[in-house]
């Protein structure tokens, strides 16, 4: 498996706060990489550096490199909008737009210039199928998306992200606001999706990392403490702090 993203000596400050300290990591493609760690450890912050969503916060300063397909995404020549199209994101709280299910999915493709109704219909159906929600919504595509349950909304958000045909899907604690059944559906979906997409998921739930991820990175106080195959990291952690965290001594 080849590497699709690499961070080199990445540092990030929120104003005076040094939130990420010299992070180095490589993320293999078509796999699931999980970021774990206690609250405030920088895992979500790091996730957002991967598609430059941190750019939106005025006081952020970043040094180092994040390479996607060999290109530093913080280079001036990079088109941020194109980058975000290729590296999609699913947020912690399901955030469908206050419009119809159809328009939610079609939003991205329309933004990127697709106008043909036939083409849009096709993308909407395919995206909803890929997100395993087509059967539940195919009869109410014109209904407002805010009328769906939380779990459905989150799968809709995944479908919406897939509609612009990204290569990577970043998921920021996508199940933390969901019930156990919805959570397991999202997890199954993630495993299904890794056949075609690279998935990076931030999770608070260590069992979730064990269940679905191939590799796990453990963050603590802005540092990447340990990174490796999930099975190995959870069974034989090399760092004492990792062991303390996964055995529940803090966190």
């Amino acid at each position: 498996m080849s590497d699709i993203m690499t961070a080199k000596n990445l540092n990030l400050w929120y104003g005076e706060t040094h939130a990420l300290k010299n992070v180095n990591i490589t993320i293999p493609e078509k796999s699931i990489t999980a970021f774990i760690g206690p609250s405030g450890c920088g895992k979500s912050t790091f996730l957002k550096t991967l598609n430059r969503m941190n750019d939106l916060i005025p006081s952020v300063k970043i040094t180092g490199e994040v390479c996607y397909n060999g290109q530093n995404i913080y280079d001036n020549s990079v088109d941020v909008n194109e980058l975000r199209r290729e590296i999609g994101m699913v947020f912690q709280k399901p955030n469908p737009f206050p419009m119809s299910i159809y328009d939610n999915i079609a939003y991205g493709p329309r933004t990127h210039g697709i106008k043909s109704k036939v083409k849009l219909d096709e993308i909407v159906e395919q995206s909803l199928r890929d997100a395993a929600i087509w059967d539940e919504v195919k009869d109410r595509l014109k209904k407002n998306a805010l009328g769906m349950s939380g779990g459905q909304q989150q799968r809709l958000c995944i479908a919406r992200a897939l509609a612009v045909k990204p290569k990577i899907l970043l998921m920021d604690e996508p199940t933390s606001a969901l019930d156990p059944i919805s959570t397991s559906r999202i997890e199954e979906l993630a495993i299904e999706l890794k056949k075609c997409y690279t998935i990076v998921i931030v999770t608070h739930n260590m069992q979730q990392a064990v269940r679905i991820s191939d590799n796990t990175a453990f963050f603590l106080l802005g540092e990447l403490i340990e990174y490796g195959e999930t099975e190995k990291l959870f069974s034989q952690p090399t760092d004492k702090r990792t062991e303390d965290y996964i055995t529940g001594r803090f966190g």
Partner: protein
């Protein structure tokens, strides 16, 4: 314990009375307007009053048709909305989403100031600057016209439109915008395709509020519109519903005075309608 309860009750009572005072004023005005507005309408006959095109209250054969005033008010308001809404709307999008904090603070301050300027000052500046300019630019005998009034009204309604739209735009959850940006939309695409649609009821309320302000304005338009009861035409002197009442009240008597009350009643009904529309949009915004 008992003493506390007494104090609570007394305070409740005082607040209730203060609240009822407002309601009482509205009721009083409504009842008074209806009672004093109806006689002239019955005497002139409703149809002739509303659709008569000639207002000659002091002529030997007086004529009390207020269609010129109604149309002037409607056209004037529509014109002000046509000019003021696009400017106010884009300004609101800019201030709530794009402007850097320093620019935003200064411009918001300016907008508040604009809202605080008394209407007579708008009228004065309009009279001394705008009216002569309109006369020169369009080469007409008198610059005091519907056009000048529209310009003044458009400026006067800007603060309401900007402020109410901004409030609605700023209330759009950031999550919506994040989702759009994460799909690769540019910030401007995001604001117009996600934020504005999400705030549309609030923006509609802003427009309706602007309509209310424009139709109710008297002093400023009286000073720049020429105040002649013509059927409205863009570059002619005109008279509005508000100014019709204001300009004749001091020397009116008899049926003429009663007719002025009837005009006020018509204006009042317009405002009621606008308020109902406003409440409709505000309620929608809440849901």
């Amino acid at each position: 314990m008992k003493k506390n309860k007494m104090i609570e009750r007394t305070i409740h009572g005082i607040f209730l009375i203060l609240g009822l005072l407002t309601v009482g004023c509205v009721l009083l005005i409504t009842v008074y307007l209806v009672i004093s507005g109806i006689p002239a309408i019955t005497e002139i006959r409703l149809f002739d009053f509303l659709f008569g095109t000639k207002w000659a209250s002091t002529a030997a054969q007086p004529s009390y048709g207020i269609l010129p005033f109604i149309l002037t008010s409607v056209y004037g308001t529509a014109g002000a909305i046509l000019i003021g809404v696009p400017i106010g709307f884009f300004a609101a999008v800019y201030l709530s989403k794009l402007a850097n904090p320093k620019v935003k603070t200064i411009m918001e301050e300016a907008v508040s100031l604009l809202a605080g300027i008394p209407s007579v000052v708008y009228g004065l500046v309009g009279m001394l600057v705008l009216v002569p300019a309109v006369r020169e630019i369009f080469d007409i005998p008198d610059g005091a016209s519907l056009f000048s009034a529209i310009i003044v009204l458009a400026i006067m309604i800007l603060p309401s439109i900007i402020k109410v739209s901004m409030t609605a735009l700023e209330a759009v959850p950031k999550e919506y915008e994040d989702a759009s940006l994460a799909l690769g939309a540019t910030p401007v695409e995001t604001y117009f395709k996600v934020s504005v649609p999400a705030a549309k009821s609030g923006i509609a309320a802003a427009v309706v509020l602007g309509v209310g302000r424009a139709i109710g304005e008297a002093m400023a338009v009286m000073m720049v519109s020429g105040n002649v009861p013509n059927m409205p035409s863009l570059f002619q002197s005109v008279r509005f519903l508000t100014t019709a009442v204001a300009s004749e009240m001091s020397y009116s008597s008899g049926l003429q005075q009663q007719a002025l009350f009837s005009i006020a009643l018509v204006l009042f009904l317009f405002i009621m309608l606008i308020n109902a529309t406003l409440n409709f949009f505000l309620k929608k915004e809440k849901d």
